[in-house]
């Protein structure tokens, strides 16, 4: 095992109320430390809003504005414009939202902010469902996953938000995982230096929602990356694709086995999911190969 030494900047402190073993707290810590103190946060109702802490306590050092579920990108736009009007254009405006607040109810406001290329850093903590309300499906829930509202497994695919965002041609889109924190940190640093709309989707295996063991969140996230289910990528200007982890393993089975939400799947189902994953991986490879930056 390789140990990573991590220099904490004290931007996210103990006393937060994440579930024991939740990787979202780890991701928030890395993100907040990397963003630093010259930042204002906007958070919509989600696990991250709860993790920040209830009034009058806050586990987050920067000021946070808690907004409504569908409004993170719109409220962040308002904060940024107000800072610009007050001659503070360099302050980072950081958004935290869940997948419900991003893929579903918040997509309209996010699309609009992206179309206007608002100068915000939008983080979606993607735990593939409404996990803070007890585990219902969202449009980010993957095919076949069991949730409270898909008891027999979801019959449709996970929404491909990354390509929807890429179609907006915003300067920066990335995916990140709590299993690859150096990669996450590098992406935050890169995004922070770019003016315009930046969106980073962070995979967060939900311990109760996915049926993952308390000590297995990071391992599960790592397996999602390694199996190619959740590729770590960057997209610049909506067209230049780059993979941070450019190889994938042959099988998704080890990833699925970590989770109770896929426990009902038989070999045929697993083979179908494997074929879906392989197909998407090949499409992604093609996008990387076709990127204008590689074909000047």
């Amino acid at each position: 095992m390789e140990l990573i030494s991590y220099q904490d900047e004290g931007q996210f402190v103990s006393g937060h109320v994440a579930c024991g073993g939740c990787a979202e707290a780890l991701a928030m810590r890395v993100i907040l430390n990397t963003v630093g103190s010259d930042a204002i946060g906007v958070v919509s109702p989600s696990c991250s809003a709860v993790i920040c802490g209830g009034y009058p306590m806050s586990a987050v050092k920067i000021p946070m504005f808690h907004t409504t579920l569908e409004s993170a990108a719109a409220s962040a736009s308002g904060v940024k414009r107000a800072l610009v009007a007050q001659n503070k254009p360099d302050t980072t405006v950081l958004c935290f939202a869940g997948d419900g607040g991003t893929y579903d109810i918040g997509l309209q406001a996010l699309s609009s902010a992206a179309e206007r290329n608002e100068d915000i850093l939008y983080i979606c903590f993607d735990n593939e469902g409404y996990m803070n309300t007890g585990g219902q499906k969202s449009s980010s829930t993957p095919l076949d996953a069991v949730t409270g509202s898909t008891p027999a497994g979801k019959t449709t695919r996970k929404k491909n938000l990354i390509e929807i965002l890429a179609a907006h041609r915003i300067p920066y889109i990335a995916t990140a995982s709590p299993s690859h924190i150096n990669d996450m940190r590098a992406k935050i640093e890169k995004a922070k230096a770019i003016r315009g709309t930046k969106v980073i989707i962070v995979l967060i295996p939900c311990l109760p929602g996915w049926g993952v063991a308390d000590n297995a969140a990071v391992r599960t996230a790592r397996k999602a990356v390694e199996a190619g289910v959740f590729p770590l990528l960057e997209i610049e200007d909506g067209v230049n694709y780059r993979l941070s982890v450019s190889e994938k393993g042959d099988s998704i089975e080890s990833y699925l086995k970590e989770q109770k939400r896929y426990r009902h799947l038989d070999a045929d189902h697993i083979a179908r999911l494997q074929a879906e994953t392989d197909f998407e991986w090949r499409r992604l490879q093609q996008r990387v190969a076709d990127s204008p930056a590689r074909n000047p």
């Binding site: 907004t67 719109a74 409220s75 107000a82 009007a85």
Partner: protein, 387 residues
């Protein structure tokens, strides 16, 4: 030369007048979404902005919901924030209207009163904003373009002092599109009247304060007690702003306006553009020997309860004209007046008439007929359709 005022009026519609009021208030951020019949406000603001006269950050999002979502935290940073909407747009904002007052933002918004669908209609009717009466916004109803311009500037002062968002409402077309001579005050006058906005509690990296984190029952309850205490200061703030503005411009304003109420034995109580029509009707009735007067409710939220009781005490008959219909109860101003006058000695007989709902025209002559018809009648509990 008088540096304080542009002595000659210019011809402006109510919506253009609002935009000029906004210009003079020196806003920092304006998130706004178009909707008929508010759009000329947006267009005039964008014109002033593109001419370089207005320096605000303009934000044109995909919906009124996002516009208000942007307004709230922008205001909380200490920026001066304006927006405008109407009807469906205001209704789409409803969730955020509660949020804006709960977070104690100081936004000023113009709502152009228009019928809410269904069916579709674009007509003057005040149900859209009256239905927001429980959202914790200050509400002022304007009768004319001049009053809308003056009102925007006064409301910034009130909202930024009380830390409560404020809405100035004017009727579709009757005020929004009607063109009248409007006196545009000088920048000097407005700067003297309206100090810069600098709230002590704000979203600021040097302060580290957060807004809106989950609160327990007691703390949530306390936020509403604090809001209530702040709301209680608003009638006086509105009076003070109206007085000071009057001293600077010669145009005085108050939460209520009494028109020819001396010795009146029948008083018409109403809001918005209907007041202009009622003035004419009152003049005609006075000429014919009928002792009629008008009580204009300019400040509707918070309702100036003490002032309303004082104004109507001893008046034999009051007739409320409501250009709105709340299904199940009737006219909203009528309901409010009934509760204000309850248990008052020498309260007037109070009639509630729904006149002009959906933008139906109500003429001065019609108002005269209604007064003749109802002034000596015993009032009904419910409201009556009269148009």
């Amino acid at each position: 030369m008088d540096m304080r005022a542009n002595a000659r009026g210019v011809l402006l519609s109510g919506n253009q007048a609002v935009a000029y009021g906004v210009l003079l208030a020196r806003p920092d951020v304006i998130p706004v979404y178009p909707i008929t019949p508010q759009t000329p406000i947006l267009e005039q603001i964008i014109e002033l902005h593109s001419e370089g006269r207005m320096k605000a950050e303009l934000l044109t999002p995909e919906s009124e919901h996002s516009a208000m979502s942007a307004c709230i935290p922008a205001s909380l940073t200490g920026a001066r924030v304006f927006t405008a909407t109407s009807s469906q747009g205001l209704l789409l904002m409803h969730e955020l209207l509660h949020y804006a007052s709960g977070a104690r933002s100081s936004i000023v918004m113009c709502n152009v009163n228009r019928t809410p669908a269904s069916p579709w209609g674009f007509w003057p009717d005040q149900l859209d904003s009256l239905a927001q009466r429980d959202t914790g916004w200050i509400q002022v109803y304007s009768e004319s373009p001049q009053e809308s311009l003056d009102g925007v500037i006064q409301l910034f002062r009130v909202a930024e002092t009380a830390n409560i968002p404020a809405m100035i409402c004017h009727d579709a077309f009757y005020v929004s599109h009607a063109v009248e001579p409007v006196e545009i005050p000088s920048q000097l006058t407005v700067d003297e009247f309206l100090p810069p906005f600098k709230p002590d509690i704000r979203l600021d990296t040097t302060l580290g304060r957060s807004f809106g984190a989950p609160a327990d029952q007691r703390n949530w309850n306390n936020t509403r007690r604090d809001l209530d205490a702040a709301m209680a200061t608003v009638p006086d703030l509105v009076s003070e702003a109206g007085r000071l503005w009057g001293d600077l411009t010669g145009r005085h304003y108050a939460p209520l306006e009494e028109y020819r109420m001396e010795g009146a034995d029948v008083v018409i109580v109403t809001m918005g553009s209907m007041c202009g029509t009622v003035r004419e009707a009152v003049d005609a009735m006075r000429e014919a020997g009928v002792k009629a007067g008008m009580l204009k409710v300019r400040l509707f939220r918070p309702l100036p309860m003490a002032a309303l009781r004082q104004a109507l005490e001893g008046v034999p008959c009051a007739i409320v004209l409501d250009r709105n219909y709340s299904p199940g109860t009737g006219g909203i101003l009528h309901q409010e007046l009934k509760s204000v006058l309850f248990n008052m000695k020498n309260a007037p007989r109070l009639h509630g008439l729904m006149a002009g709902v959906g933008g139906v025209n109500v003429s001065p002559a019609k108002i005269g007929e209604l007064v003749a018809q109802y002034r000596d009648k015993e009032p009904q509990v419910g409201a009556i359709w009269v148009d």
